[in-house]
Symmetry: C2
Subunit: 206 residues, 2 copies
Amino acid sequence: MSSAAESVPSPVQTQAGASAGHADAVDRILAVAYELFSHRGVRDVGVNELIERSGVAKATFYRHFPSKDSLVLAFLEQRDRQWTVDAIVSEARRRGTTPTEQLLAIFDVFGDWFLREDFEACSFINILLEMGPAHPLGQASIDYLARIRGHVQALAEEAGLARPEDFARSWHILMKGSIISATEGDMQANKRAQQMAAWLIEHHRS
Amino acid sequence: MSSAAESVPSPVQTQAGASAGHADAVDRILAVAYELFSHRGVRDVGVNELIERSGVAKATFYRHFPSKDSLVLAFLEQRDRQWTVDAIVSEARRRGTTPTEQLLAIFDVFGDWFLREDFEACSFINILLEMGPAHPLGQASIDYLARIRGHVQALAEEAGLARPEDFARSWHILMKGSIISATEGDMQANKRAQQMAAWLIEHHRS
DNA sequence: AACGAGTAAGACCGGTCTGTCTCTACCTCG
DNA sequence: CGAGGTAGAGACAGACCGGTCTTACTCGTT
């Protein structure tokens, strides 16, 4: 179940005392990986491009990440922190005052996100569909998607809605569907989903 | 807009008069391509595997399809016929008597489809996300997704619903979101989407 | 001053990719 | 019969893949 966030080489405690001169190689690799994986997926990005863009030797790369897939796992964890938590959930909580407002604000945040010219869709969906649900990276993506549902479920409980888990699963259908529609070019997808989301809230009151 | 269904080598009128002895090579290639592309996407399937599985020489393959991408375009067209039209839309129309029932029956058909052990998700979404919306194959996928919306819009018009295009776009969000949820393993995703779909119909009456 | 750890640079390996080309066999039509 | 088109089989090219390994350099610590 929670096999997603586990043994990925933590970029924090890199090198206990022997902190090398330049910016840590691990940090540079992770920054480049985030940029490339989030916009182009996994298979389209090769190890050679990753090391060239991060100015790192191949041996250094493989000292910190035993395989390309392990770097992808680290990217997914980073994506959960920077995108799911910081960019979406925290921002939506900030924009609303009541839990219900905060829930609906998710689709306002989506609206701003859809308009970015480097809109990259949801990496968890992308990688799940790219690798398939049986692949370890697909499994990890499923775990992180479940974490997103967990945030929604927490807000539903704060709002006192009935059957919070069912609510979160239906809500997530609206989130994912609107992201695909935005990828197709529908810039009003967030508004359409938000309208249906309001009806969903209404039917979960009581 | 409608650049999707165009110059793909039609498997019907292959060889006007010089019909070769065995089953047409084009038909075998297309059958194998449908099986492999629908379940594993584009990049995971190589030309060598395609020709081996269809018992065809490489030169024969490239005589009929100038590139791998052109075969993918032919697959997308076939997918539109066999899956969108025959398996989903026609089946949903068969299951319901009124246009409203036929619309809601889409999610009953989805329910049966989700339960298949070789459930392969939506090839148009898969390839759109795999190649990106800027790639020709991603563009073609967007076109075929628009055709799906066209079927929904037609049913909405038959049902006399208000703003049929907006209705179809919202409806499509539910279809796509439930497919992703099914890929994650939620076998009730069709029911959740169907409930929200009923509310959507309700709000488009008048 | 000497050492060891970590680094950049890049050659290298075996394998895969799309796409081209050659060769031979067959079948049909004139 | 013979020509032309289509077929299967497969070698080959050129690029790229993930991953291993060697070399030389730069540090901080002792």
